[in-house]
Amino acid sequence: MAKQDTAGHAPKFEMDRCKAVPALIGNHEDFLIVSGLAGTSKDMASLTGDAANLYTMAGAMGAATAMGLGLALAQPDRRVLVITGDGELLMNVGTLATIAVLNPSNLSIVCVDNGHYGETGYQKSHTSRGVDLEQMAIGAGIKMTCTVEREDQLGDASRLLRETNGTSFVVLRVSPEEPPKVKRLMEPAAARARFRNALLGRP
């Protein structure tokens, strides 16, 4: 029998990420965004047109959440969104504990969970084998969490990302299909300068 998740049933990895991610995020200009390597960076580059409020990554696997924390503490008047995959989040899942202790009210984390390591050939990740990342976030002490696996749950989750009472965490379960194909700025120093220029008016 399949293991049960936080909601008490076997997890469903069924939604189309190319539709579900844009529906969850809504207006991307509400956020400063850090996206994790591979899939979620493609999701966000597609959604935003590789905009200057987005810093995408293609390496340093596991860095996105802590990077978002540094940005959120530096910019308390802006909402910061970290969007990353299940594989990357699992690599530094302890960062959820680091974040929960501080509980910055302007930070939201989305894990696009397809249960697989898509970039390396769709090998199963731990979340396909019973690991529940929302439960791990709850255990870390993040108070506002939810798991989305059906379209009718997207609206509440989208509002949760804009809550101001503390850090929020959303698991978005999607099917293991390819993210959007999109060109994005892959040079990390140029991306840094672009992000800072847009936010601060200087590199």
């Binding site: 400063l32 340093a60 802590a66 990077m67 540094g70 940005l71 530096a74 680091t98 840094r192």
Partner: protein, 179 residues
């Protein structure tokens, strides 16, 4: 009653207080660390300072990524870690090198001058080679007098010229631990 390191220092202001003041003078507002005896005073000063964020990490590489995020948002971070933590940071240092993000880290050494714990030796001896392999400039502090000017110089090189810089607080400075 045994005094904590901070209480001892309340009666005798040490170089660690001056290093903290230098970091604040450079407008460092994010102090991250995995708890460590060598950095105890700096950590306690950051906890007591309402003007800064004191960030306890679960592993040191979080502090590297944190510093990159801080820079995106125009804040300055310092990562305080023990030499063993350097090994945890290596892949994340590609973010700093590739992105030309500033990084200032203070490394309290084990596994070198006078070390008696064989478990500390391999990583302690590898600190400078692995940091330099990832493009981090290393500067040693061997006496209390060197601490403030070295941290001041490192902070300038990091925050003004976008370098990754490690200040190595040697066991000549800190003393070899008795355990």
């Amino acid at each position: 009653m045994a005094l904590s390191k901070t209480e001892q220092n309340d009666t005798e202001r040490g170089w660690q207080h001056d290093v903290y003041d230098v970091l604040r003078a450079h407008d460092v507002t994010q102090f991250s660390y995995v708890p460590d005896a060598g950095h105890a005073i700096l950590i306690d000063l950051s906890i007591a300072d309402a003007q800064v964020h004191s960030i306890a990490l679960t592993t040191e590489e979080e502090g590297v990524a944190l510093a990159a995020g801080a820079n995106l948002g125009d804040a300055r971070a310092v990562l305080m870690m023990q030499s063993s933590g350097v090994g945890n940071c290596i892949n994340f240092l590609s973010l700093m090198k590739g992105g030309k993000f500033p990084l200032l880290t203070l490394v309290s050494m084990r596994g070198e001058y006078g070390e008696g714990n064989p478990w500390q030796m391999p990583m302690g001896q590898a600190v400078r080679p692995v940091l330099e392999a990832m493009g981090v400039i290393c500067m040693d502090v061997c006496t209390p007098d060197e601490a403030v000017p070295t941290v001041d110089a490192a902070a300038t090189m990091a925050y003004k010229a976008n370098n990754a810089v490690a200040v190595i607080l040697t066991q000549k400075l800190l003393g070899a631990k008795a355990f």
